[in-house]
Amino acid sequence: MNYHAYHSLDVVNGEGTRCTLFVSGCEHKCKGCYNASTWSLMNGHPFTRALEDQIIRDLSDTRIKRQGLSLSGGDPLHPANLTAVLQLVQRVRAECPGKDIWCWTGYKLASLTEQQQHVVQYIDVLIDGKFIEAQKQPNLAWRGSSNQQIHYLSQTERALA
């Protein structure tokens, strides 16, 4: 998997203070996308074990507390990204107790493939749906257009929502 950018400290992609990974590769190609350079699977840099370790380290930082990890892109649920993303979210679950995982995808929750569902079982909050420029609303929380939906999937997140 290639990734486009990694922000070890982020407050604009999901609730609380977070680490955010923008992966490469997206087949939706929505008109008006703010991250079009991430569409190609070949763009960006290789996602290495070293970066994975750094994400785990950042999430465990005690000086600057992170609420969790955000996965965006590109599309983290692009078929070509699923193996790497699965490994990452499994590690976060195992090694960073108490941290939540948010994920943005252009696919709809109701029509995910089996492999995608396998990844999503580790996700706490999923924001799904393509970006539709005609339904763009600048002041929405965590979404670009009003068709997109926030799904609080895990017990804890549902309690908070």
Partner: protein
């Protein structure tokens, strides 16, 4: 009879008597008075001049000098030349006064007109104030301050702040108004005797009146410390009234009725107060710099006031719900009251976070840090001036105390003069500090022998916490640390670059940081020494430099040229603050600035630049919590601009020409709300432009968390 062409081109008749007077004065001054010689000299000069076809002033002066030297009267000639020179200077001053007045009339001097983002220089009352300021500044420089101070000020070595008010007028800078004492005991204002209020609505109304009066008698900020606790008794009075009313009308749920009524009244009272403060125009020609400190009150009444202040601010001003930039709100956070989820007023902290995310204020005061760094808890006066601890009859006293004024030191200039030699820098710094002390003493001096009647609201009716008689002397009030008087400083970032070059950044270099801290500690040692020597409360103040950021830099650029990392940006960085262009996360910025408030305990503020946080109060709380154990006073700058054309909320594009909406391109000033931090205060730079240096600084500000 010949005519003479004067400097301004006017023709006047030749007058020998004028020459006689000048030469006679010159002779007197060297103890060489000789009437016969004088007559002889004058006759000779007259004959010489009569042979010349056209006379101008220079020609006359040359002839007088020549004649004196021919007679071997070297001393007299020297005295004559020096007399003439002092007249030239005097004339020059008078003509620059004319120039300034003219530029005000023609509205042609942007620096003068945009000097203070809080003054609308388009309107008559402000223009009158600016005119008074021009005259007061000139008079003080010519007749009150020593030549050494004036030269240091003019050359840009120091800045004698607020010369347009003091020392011409015996005014002081900023204060904590003793609102409690005034409201409890009543006072007289203008023609009215005002008794203690009987409701919260009246109490806030009277508070607005007091603020207007006080702000007209001082030139700096007017702060009400712990306003929630000061005004809580009046909430009780109103509540009791509503309860009595419920009884009178046999309302079934009397307490429920009274609570509903008091909630509405308290909100209305604080809304009225906010409108009053924003519509006030003091006799200083400006909206007063007003600050409200609140948050520590624990009673339901105090809590209701806290909620009212925040809800009013969240709701906005007028039909466009514009962000109010006054009063500045400063919210105190304390463990056990509102800091932790289990604290009784934790819900108020959440409301404060919501307010900050939408309206930028409140800034926060971290209780324990304020006490640790400044000796006691209190809200800053104005935007960032902190008083030290002071006890009166065994108890801490804050209300009614004040700051006597500031003189700031141009640190980058000393560094430029030292040319990279650190030892020489510290040597010259000591020299400059002597001038600063003299300048600050001139402020104290001006307030000696001043009588209470000069500002009844301050000294006779209780704002300063005392009720002196008209003829009483006010100077005792300022002694023994009851008042502070501050040495300011600017441009630590540029100073370090001037000393070491800009190949490394202060943020990345612990050795440079050590020197930076040492510089500020040197200043602190100086003010501590002066306190010891004089008994006055000298403090070290991190100058906000709204206007000064440009002034010092401009002067130094002229003298030293454009030096990379020092004079090339057109502004100097605010006190100890991190360079606004350095991209670091806000946590690291706090760590970087953490050492300074303890040293510059007379004035400081730390802030960070954030993206839109409306949807992420948790992240905003994370940073507030991080600051809690590190810095006393923190503000979060977030983009809260609004476009009335397209509804966009966020950050407008900032250029040297003004502001525009990134969504629809709207550039019309009356169709937008743009809010930026000027210093400790916020401003609306679309309505009242910043000066050029400030605008440049705003353009260069980088977000400390902008990832996408």
């Amino acid at each position: 009879m010949q005519s003479v062409i004067k400097r301004d081109g006017q023709k006047v008749e030749f007058n020998l008597h004028r020459i006689e007077t000048a030469v006679s004065r010159a002779m007197d001054s060297v103890a060489n008075a000789d009437a016969a010689l004088l007559t002889h000299l004058c006759t000779e000069i007259e004959i010489k001049l009569s042979k010349k076809p056209a006379l101008d002033i220079q020609e006359i002066q040359r002839t007088v000098e020549e004649t004196l030297i021919e007679h071997q009267l070297t001393d007299v000639a020297r005295a004559y030349i020096s007399y003439r020179k002092s007249r030239d200077i005097e004339r020059e001053r008078r003509s620059s006064l004319n120039e300034e007045i003219k530029s005000l009339l023609m509205q042609s001097n942007d620096d003068l007109l945009n000097e203070n983002a809080n003054k609308d220089a388009n309107v008559i009352p402000t223009q009158r104030d600016l005119l008074a300021g021009i005259v007061a500044r000139h008079y003080a420089k010519a007749h009150i301050l020593s030549e050494q101070i004036v030269t240091a000020h003019e050359s840009g070595a120091i800045h004698y702040h607020d010369l347009d008010y003091a020392p011409f007028f015996p005014m002081f800078n900023c204060m904590l108004v003793d609102l409690k004492g005034m409201l409890c005991n009543g006072f007289k204002m203008g023609n009215a005797e005002i008794a203690s209020p009987k409701s919260i609505m009246t109490a806030t109304n009277v508070t607005a009146q007091i603020i207007a009066q006080v702000a007209s008698h001082i030139y700096g900020g007017t702060t009400i410390d712990r306003i929630d606790e000061v005004l809580e008794p009046y909430v009780t009075l109103s509540y009791e009234k509503h309860l009595a009313m419920a009884g009178q009308w046999n309302i079934p749920d009397q307490e429920g009725y009274a609570h509903a009524q008091i909630e509405r009244e308290c909100y209305d009272a604080f809304q009225a107060l906010e409108y009053e403060v924003n519509t006030l125009h003091t006799s200083n020609g400006q909206t007063p710099f007003v600050t409200f400190g609140f948050g520590l009150g624990k009673s339901w009444q105090a809590k209701l006031i806290q909620q009212s202040i925040l809800n009013v601010r969240i709701d906005g001003l007028g039909k466009n719900k514009k962000t109010a930039v006054f009063p500045k709100l400063v919210f105190a956070i304390k463990k056990g009251i509102n800091q932790q989820p289990e604290d009784p007023n934790y819900d108020i902290k959440q409301l404060a976070l919501e307010c900050a995310s939408q309206r930028m204020y409140p800034d926060i005061l971290n209780y324990d840090q304020v006490v640790e760094k400044t000796g006691s808890f209190k809200t800053p006066m104005g935007c960032r001036s902190f008083l030290g601890k002071y006890e009166h009859e065994g108890t801490e006293l804050h209300a009614g105390r004040n700051n006597l004024g500031v003189v700031s030191l141009n640190l980058p200039r000393i560094a430029l003069q030292a040319n990279g030699n650190v030892e020489l820098f510290f040597e010259q710094l000591q020299q400059q500090l002597l001038i600063c002390k003299e300048a600050l003493m001139s402020r104290i001096e001006r307030l000696q022998k001043v009588k209470a009647k000069i500002a009844p609201i301050l000294y006779m009716e209780g704002a300063c916490g005392v009720r002196l008689k008209a003829e009483d002397n006010i100077s005792e009030l300022f002694k023994n640390g009851r008042a502070s008087i501050s040495l300011g400083y600017i441009g630590i970032h540029e100073t370090i670059n001037a000393l070491f070059g800009d190949d490394a950044h202060l943020f990345d270099d612990p050795q440079r940081q050590q020197v930076a801290v040492e510089i500020v500690k040197t200043l602190k040692a100086a003010v501590d020494l002066w306190t010891q020597q004089t008994g006055y409360g000298f403090s070290l103040y991190s100058t906000p430099s709204e206007n000064l950021c440009t002034r010092f830099c401009k002067i130094d650029q002229k003298e030293f040229g454009s030096i990379k990392g020092v004079t090339d940006k057109g502004y100097y960085t605010n006190s100890f603050h991190l360079d606004v262009e350095k991209k670091v996360n806000p946590y690291d910025k706090i760590d970087f600035e953490q050492p300074y408030p303890a040293i510059a305990s007379g004035g400081f503020i730390c802030y960070g630049e954030y993206p839109n946080m409306r949807h992420n109060l948790k992240a905003l709380e994370d940073i507030w919590d991080y600051s809690y154990n590190r810095v006393p006073y923190y503000g979060t700058n977030t983009p809260i601009d609004e476009c009335y054309s397209c509804g966009y909320q966020g950050e407008f594009d900032c250029t040297s020409k003004g502001f525009s909406c990134p969504s629809c391109g709207n550039k019309e000033n009356d169709k937008m709300s743009v809010t930026r931090r000027v210093c400790g205060y916020l401003g609306s730079p679309n309505a009242r432009p910043f000066n050029a240096g400030k605008q440049e600084e705003v353009i260069r500000r980088v977000k400390h968390l902008e990832n996408s």
